[in-house]
Amino acid sequence: MKQTIYILSILGSLSMYSQGCSDAGFCSVGNTFTDELNTSKNQLDFGGIIGGGEADIFYISPYVTYTRNFSESFTMSAKVTYSQASGDFGTRGQFGDAFLTGNYTFKEKKDKTWSTLLGFKFPFTSSNAKINGVSLPLDYQASLGTFDLIAGVGFKYKKWFFNTALQLPVFNNNKNSYFDEYSASNDFSSTNLFERKPDVLFRTTYTIQNNTKFTFKPNLLFIYRLGEDTYENLAGNRTSIDGSDGLTINANLITSYAIAKNKILEASLAFPFVVKEERPDGLTRSFTAGLIYKYAF
């Protein structure tokens, strides 16, 4: 039984990171929503995600997460992401963001469990990485360069799990200097001194468990960008990017295998099937595939 609970708790970590995600961390905010079921005090996750994006860019995005259960109700997680993009501009890899999140879970009542989440995202870069002095579009940047507040609510009922969250940029340190006008490529929008708008996320997940070793979690992730992103044009005027607001919907399937009582191997496949008209933020993955090793101690 303990093992079953453990597997369920681990599977709550939806490490999906497809097209619509503002970043890897935001799309896996579900992680700490269910970690309260974990019977261990500490957990380390080592993940690697590959993906394909616009203009044939290929991504490799490893990350590491440490989660500490302070009590049955309260957990905190720290996550660090790295991202490497390869395409016609070359290859550029950097550390992306650090996420610090706290999760409080209320006591279960009649199969219903509520939880809340509060977190912050800190960028390691100002989103202005270059190659040979050439400014790169955001598709090649490891972070959007914003300090964000993340707040959310989760609700679990039997095999269903729903969560919603807001990602609010509170301080913008994006210093990107990419201009379409001066680029050899026509595939990317100008994103000079880019400013992004907040995102609202809603996810619904269903758990299928056939035996104690394998568990499947198909889920849908809806992300709505609340306004149009902007950039500073050649004349230094802030300009809205038409079509950069709106809805993205991702489909994701997570398969988890329990290697041992405290070790889980998890595979995820995700792809978007509704996308925004314009995606200047560089989150243009057409698919992602992830493999994550989780160790509790």
């Binding site: 500490n42 380390l44 590491v64 660090v80 790295y82 490497q84 390869s86 395409g87 016609d88 501009f89 070359g90 290859t91 550029r92 890899g93 950097q94 550390f95 390691f124 100002s126 202005n128 990485a129 270059k130 190659i131 040979n132 002095g133 050439v134 400014s135 790169l136 210093k175 200097s177 201009f179 001066y182 680029s183 050899a184 490529s185 000079n192 001194l193 050649l234 004349a235 230094g236 101690f297």
Partner: protein, 150 residues
């Protein structure tokens, strides 16, 4: 107890590895970022007259070292800024601006300062109004050098 010690050692190793990786980033040029391509200047057509329209000598701001001149040429319908005998202190994100004043308030961004010495001026720019060439660090919003065009 042994398990706890092993776990602590593993976490410590993980932290050391993470700190080491913090300083790691990789970079490899591609088709659009080849070094040779960044050094290419505007091709001057020898069959057309090259007319010098304006010129100014660069003056540094405090703590900056700069030498050289900015000149504006026209050939046919193409106008461009040429940086001649130009050197400047290193900085991470220098841009070439055409500006209406000696400060980067109303300007046109001509792009990154690279090994190339010529920068095309958009056709709609009125050179009787934009009378300064500035070298400006956009990332840290710091002005490096000013050339007043005459």
């Amino acid at each position: 107890m042994i398990l706890n010690l092993n776990t602590t050692a593993m976490v410590k190793k993980g932290i050391y590895l993470l700190v080491a990786l913090m300083f790691f980033s990789c970079e490899k040029e591609g088709e659009f970022t080849r070094q040779e391509a960044q050094q290419q200047n505007i091709i001057i057509n020898s069959n057309e007259d090259l007319v010098e329209l304006y010129a100014g000598t660069f003056v540094p701001t405090a703590g900056i070292s700069v030498t050289g001149k900015a000149k504006i040429y026209q050939q046919g319908t193409t106008r461009f800024v040429s940086l001649e005998n130009f050197t400047i202190s290193n900085a991470p994100d220098l841009k070439v601006y055409l500006s209406t004043t000696a400060a980067p308030d109303t300007f046109v961004n001509l792009g990154n300062l690279t090994a190339a010495t010529t920068y095309t001026i958009p056709t709609q720019v009125d050179l009787t109004v934009f009378t300064y060439v500035l070298i400006h660090c956009q990332q840290y919003n710091h002005l490096y050098a000013i050339a007043n065009l005459n």
